[in-house]
Symmetry: C2
Subunit: 353 residues, 2 copies
DNA sequence: TTGAAAGCGCTAACAG
DNA sequence: CTGTTAGCGCTTTCAA
């Protein structure tokens, strides 16, 4: 193993000079520096990360906390987040340490921070009420969430603008003539599980108020997990005719696909019998037929923004804002259409004329 | 920040005793140990990772090298690998450092290893000829590849059994009555780009020999990227009638989906006009209609095996074998059927009888 | 059963 | 412009 002393010896200088020649923290005579760099290149010297971080108190590493909810298909899209984060961290010269956890694990978060393994932390898949966020706050170290808990006090966060997403979805559906719209999310006891679903629900409610549409709570449909059986149970009121809806807003793209398969299995045609619109980023997901109308945002942009916020904090800059919301965009595809009875009327009219 | 000396002081012992009480490397009187652990708990002490690895020369961290080929949809499924690896590393008490790279980056690999940031390395998405593997070999540190390059000399590796996958696919297709089978892979100059495609091609060739089927090289179809335009160009001979095939073996599930969309767009029905069979793990991918017949294997098992091999090496155990192949399994779904003309004959017969 | 002391490789005062 | 020196927090000889 090549050490800084070895380089210094070969270059005929003190180790301080080598250190500064590499860090640029103080001026080194060009001739000396060239000699040092030549030796560094020749030996392939690379400063020992542990020694460096022990004394500098920085690891140049960021932790990404990834919860593992194996039956939640959202994991599908972790890649976009992980790759987006890693790629952007590279630009800033930081490394990426992934903490992948099966359990909620506030304790693992504590271990990670107290061992000084990372300078800062990013949090993925934030829940409406998230114990990991609390653990992070308690440690008092810089962190940024990708997604938002319900209570955002003092939290620096980047997220898709899910509230506006839901408003946009409802706007579009009402524009098509729908007024009985269902909202589907994972959750229990009238509380969505993930933060993005909570904010989407706020938007969903707000849109109903804006349009003076009545909204019965039964149209807010919770399912425990993003699995077929769980969704099947949650959607039962629709299939047995107890709940009347002409359109569904789903909070995930994967959920939309599952729901469409279920609808299909029960003999409902999309979009003829019921419209489906998804919120989220479908970039990496296969498009089933009919293709799904979606209010999307860029996960890559979200990742990039989160990293920039965190790195800024690590370099001592105050974040200019606590919250960054990535803009959303409505992509109209084949899973939405005017509700059945309206279409009939329209057809009749056209025939009349 | 709490240090070991602080703990020692509060517990009224020397720092050596604290160190051993925590590591278990030497016997500590139970009463002393309890006292120490109480203080540790009270203060939430966690040994500094840098200090520890500086002296112990171990980081308890494994590097995962993830290439970034943004237009290759295979990235879709990185999640399975990353999560599989991270989860298994947890079991062994190791951390996961992700090196996410846009470029081939043998240099980054060098930096990672020479800075002693990781004890060992895992490699993802191995190419048929892979410069990163060479860089890794040159460093002389433990590493395991997930996937195999063509030349496996001295490399410890875990992979899906793609050769057998391809044999199985051809077996099944010939069983259905096909004899003109195409093979689709990313690549150039008659060389598949990724190792798994190279091994699949070996199996594809072997199966033809076993079945005494002639195999013209034009049936091995290369496309530059896993994108629609690229595939469209590669499949042109099929669409313009120059190349006669009744079935296609694709080396990725995503490729199969794209191909089916293209076939559809050109008016070919699957499986009526042409059968499609995919190799790989479709766990996280949406099922389009018709659902795709696939020869699959478990990425989670692959990740687990790779981690176990690597950790074994890190703990000084010689790997019992250099190569571990995850078993494959044929899942028959809706994208395969007997070739068109055969079916007609069958139908005729039935009618005659 | 325990502690003192050395030193891992590096950065950054401090002193020339 | 450059070098000497003192640690960073820990593990591990070595000695008691």
């Amino acid at each position: 193993m090549v050490t800084i002393d070895e380089v210094a010896r070969r270059a005929g200088v003190g180790r301080t000079t080598v250190s500064h020649a590499l860090s640029g923290n103080r001026h080194v005579a060009p001739s000396t520096r060239d000699r040092i760099l030549a030796v560094v290149n020749e030996l392939g010297y690379q400063p020992n990360a542990a020694a460096r971080s022990l004394v500098s108190r920085r690891t140049m590493t960021v932790g990404l906390i990834i919860p593992l909810d194996l039956d939640i298909l959202a994991e599908n899209r972790y890649t976009d987040f992980i790759v987006g984060v890693g790629d952007r961290l590279n630009d800033h010269g930081y490394r990426l340490l992934c903490l992948i956890d099966r359990n909620p694990a506030p304790l693992d978060v504590q271990r990670l921070l107290r061992s000084n393994s990372v300078d800062g932390t990013l949090l993925l898949q934030v829940r409406t009420i998230d114990t990991r966020v609390e653990a992070l706050v308690a440690e008092g170290r810089p962190f940024v969430t990708m997604g938002r808990p319900r209570d955002t006090t003092g939290i620096v966060r980047a997220d898709g603008d899910f509230s506006t997403s839901a408003v946009t979805a409802v706007d579009y559906l009402t524009h098509l003539g729908h007024s009985q719209i269902g909202f589907v999310a994972t959750g229990q006891d009238r509380m969505p599980m993930f933060g993005f679903q909570w904010y989407a629900l706020q938007g969903f409610r707000r849109a109903h108020r804006l349009h003076h549409l009545p909204l019965h709570h039964s149209r807010i449909i919770y399912h425990e997990r993003e699995t077929e059986p769980s969704l099947e149970a949650a959607l039962a009121p629709i299939f047995d005719g107890t709940l009347a809806v002409t359109a569904l807003v789903t909070t995930t793209f994967v959920g939309a696909v599952l729901i469409m398969q279920l609808l299909n299995a029960h003999g409902w045609r999309v979009p003829e019998d019921i419209s489906v619109i998804a919120l989220g980023d479908p970039r990496n997901t296969m498009l089933p037929l009919p293709s799904i109308t979606v209010v999307r945002f860029s996960v890559a942009d979200l990742a990039r923004e989160a990293v920039d916020l965190l790195v800024g904090m690590l370099e001592g800059r105050q974040p200019s804002r606590l919250e960054h919301l990535v803009p959303i965009e409505l992509v109209i595809r084949g899973s939405t259409a005017p509700p059945a009875q309206l279409r009939l009327i329209t057809t009749a009219r056209v025939q009349t004329v």
